[in-house]
């Protein structure tokens, strides 16, 4: 493939103003996403995943949050961090659609479902009034809602969580985006509903040859949905590679820890391993490798220096062990 990638984030830094000075929430994050590709951005809560998603859309929480100079977010080569407000409104919903975590509260309670989908269509596509209802029905059917006409007339509170999430996906698709960001889109749903929504997202991505940025804390979800996985910790990527390699041959102790903490029926009776400690809050990230206080294999260099992404056996990982092992 030639030309610039669909989305290219280079050295993204987002800081939040706190009483004790600027605290980083995203700290030198770089990812590349090609058109039609599915990338999983995986990490525990508090590692900067959602701030990254919002920053791509130019919606860094204000006034506390701020993207630091020197960061770069390019959409097909166009620098979004320098785009004007008008251009960013076209990008939001038009070129990049996003689905959030909370299906119960992400729909306006006083507008009928059909009107909310129609509003999204009209904001981004030159669809005339006559063609609008047809387009709305089409979208609702695309996301697998039976009896689209009835759903369009319903109020949000009359729908179940799964149905609402489908409606929100329909709204995100209304502007025919090239990239869909799913920010923990299934985390608030029952497991069975979660599975059907994931299937839907996977089908939509393939049918529309749309890129998918799947943000999740759940490696299992990322495993079944993505081509590549980027594992995030402490505001940047600690390991990246194609999905199979990351799952089978993780090089970073953090990725390995995440994998070990997934319950596995084959290891029934064996005590589940958890990563000791918890994600440090924003503003209290340690120096050196941000993971070293929780890492069982850390050594002197980890405390002193932050490792760059190094080429490992199957993946690329930000870990000094890769240099030591060789």
């Amino acid at each position: 493939m030639s030309g610039p990638p669909l989305l290219e984030i280079r050295d993204l830094r987002v800081v939040f103003r706190t009483v004790s000075g600027d605290a980083p929430a995203v700290d030198g994050l770089s990812i590349v996403l090609e058109a039609g590709e599915a990338l999983g951005l995986v990490g525990e809560s508090g590692c900067g995943k959602s701030v990254t998603a919002l920053s791509i859309l130019g919606l860094t929480p204000r006034p506390a949050g701020r993207v630091v100079d020197g960061s770069s977010i390019r959409l097909r080569g166009e620098e979004l961090l320098r785009a004007g407000p008008e251009r960013m409104r076209e990008v939001r919903g038009g070129e990049i659609g996003i689905v959030f975590q909370e299906p119960m509260t992400s729909l306006n309670p006083v507008l009928r479902v059909g009107d909310q989908v129609a509003e999204a269509v009209r904001a981004h596509l030159p669809v005339g009034r006559a063609a609008l209802p047809g387009r709305v029905m089409e979208l609702l059917e695309t996301v697998g809602l039976p009896d689209a006409e009835q759903i369009a007339r319903a109020w949000p509170h009359q729908l179940s969580g799964g149905m609402r999430q489908r409606v929100l996906i329909a709204i995100a698709l209304a502007g025919d985006p090239d990239l869909l960001i799913a920010d923990e889109a299934t985390s608030a749903l029952d497991v069975t509903v979660q599975a059907t929504i994931l299937e839907l997202l996977d089908r939509l991505r393939r049918d529309r040859s749309m890129a998918l940025l799947l943000i999740t804390h759940d490696l299992a979800v990322a495993a079944r949905m993505t081509d590549r996985i980027a594992v995030m910790y402490g505001g940047h990527i600690v390991e990246e590679g194609d999905t199979r390699s990351v799952l089978d041959r993780p090089a970073h102790p953090y990725t390995a820890g995440l994998l070990n903490s997934i319950p596995d029926p084959a290891r029934r009776g064996v005590r589940l391993e958890a990563i000791p400690g918890s994600v440090p809050g924003i503003g209290s990230w340690p120096g050196g490798c941000t993971f070293h206080p929780r890492c069982s294999r850390s050594f002197a260099r980890c405390e002193a220096e932050s490792p760059p992404l190094l080429v490992g056996p199957a993946t690329r990982a930000a870990c000094w062990l890769l240099e030591t092992d060789e």
């Binding site: 939001r92 006083v110 502007g175």
Partner: protein
């Protein structure tokens, strides 16, 4: 979606509804049927009884006469439509606040009183037994309430019942218009301040503080004293001095609603600020605005009465409740009826608005189970 069939009622009954709207519902034992039927028959009786006056309004059209005629036709049409409509099972989702409001006895009383008061004001030229400005300086002065003069007469021999009826038009009109202005300004200022934040918020809210730091009545008196008192002036002045509470209320609500997920989602869809404010934020703060407006009308009516009582409001001979009370002020002991009846009208009206406002607040509060 669903074909509604009234269970079992013979179709003859439904046809009788065309002549006597509400009859089949009344026969089914529903209170609303009796009310509709009663309203229909009273309105028809009024039309028949006041035939000569109606003919006169048609041959010599005047503003107030035409309003009364149009209101009569409108009220008849409303009653007929409501009374002949098939009993509606109701949208179970949308009807929750409405049914809650109906089951709230205080609110029901308030709404009933307001409907009666409002209709009486609109129909005043047809209802009033006398010309409200007809002066009788002979034997007609200061008559106590009697069968011919239900509320007595004043110093100039004018019939008080007729004057209170006509005064209702002025007082209610001023109340509604003033609160409309106040709510419009207050909502605009509060919404912009709450949504924009930053220096604009600070500027607008300090302006509100500035306005609030004037005592309202003194401000009213000063402004009115600078100009010729007239109804439009009073409406504008009452509106311009009554919006600050609404704007503070709206700002607070907007501050909370703008952080809701659906507003964030709207932003992530690239909608403009104006659209988000109009379609996603304001409809979700409508409830407190409606409640504030309802409660505010009562206040505006009181303020109008106070101004008129001080001689700075509606000018004689136009009747408003405040001016009637003012005219009877020095006859409080020997002609108690001049001040008592318009005073009662004010008390009833303000109380009704407050009852409805409280009822609305309770009915629209989603935290109350339904």
């Amino acid at each position: 979606m669903h074909e509604v069939r009234s269970n079992g009622g013979p179709s003859a009954r439904r046809e009788l509804d065309l002549l006597f709207p509400g009859l089949s519902r009344a026969l089914a034992g529903r209170g609303s049927g009796f009310l509709l039927l009663g309203a229909w028959l009273s309105l028809l009786a009024l039309a028949v009884y006041r035939r000569p006056r109606i003919a006169e309004f048609i041959s010599h059209p005047t503003g107030s006469g035409l309003v009364a005629l149009a209101s009569l036709v409108g009220l008849l049409a409303l009653t007929w439509i409501a009374g002949t409509r098939a009993v509606d099972p109701g949208d179970p989702s949308g009807a929750v606040p409405a049914s809650r409001l109906r089951s709230d006895r205080r609110a029901a009383i308030g709404i009933g009183l307001l409907v009666v008061l409002g209709s009486a004001a609109l129909l005043a030229p047809l209802l009033a037994p006398f010309d409200p400005d007809l002066i009788d300086l002979g034997a007609g002065r200061l008559l106590a309430p009697s069968a011919s003069h239900w509320m007595g007469t004043d110093e100039l021999g004018r019939d008080l019942f007729s004057r209170v009826l006509y005064g209702a038009r002025v007082s209610l009109l001023i109340g509604f218009l003033a609160i409309a202005i106040a709510v419009t300004i207050g909502t605009a200022v509060g919404a912009v301040a709450g949504y924009a934040g930053g220096w604009l918020d600070a500027l607008l809210m300090r302006t509100v503080d500035l306005f609030l730091s004037f005592p309202r009545l003194v401000l009213l008196i000063t402004v009115v004293a600078l100009f010729e008192p007239s109804i439009p002036l009073i409406v504008v002045v009452l509106g311009l001095t009554g919006w600050m509470g609404v704007s503070r209320l709206v700002r607070g609500q907007v501050l909370s609603v703008r952080e809701r997920e659906y507003v964030q989602a709207a932003r992530a869809m690239g909608y403009g600020s104006g659209r988000i404010l109009r379609r996603h934020v304001l409809p979700n703060v409508a409830t407190p605005i409606i409640v504030a407006a309802t409660l505010g009308i009562g206040n505006a009516i009181l303020a109008e009465a106070a101004l008129s009582y001080l001689g700075l409001g509606v000018q004689p001979p136009t009747a408003s409740w405040g001016t009637i009370i003012q005219s009877g002020g020095d006859r409080l002991v020997d002609a108690w009826w001049i001040t008592t009846f318009p005073g009662l009208a004010i008390v009833l009206t303000v109380m009704s608005f407050n009852l409805v406002g409280d009822g609305l607040r309770d009915a629209l509060d989603p935290r109350r189970g339904g």
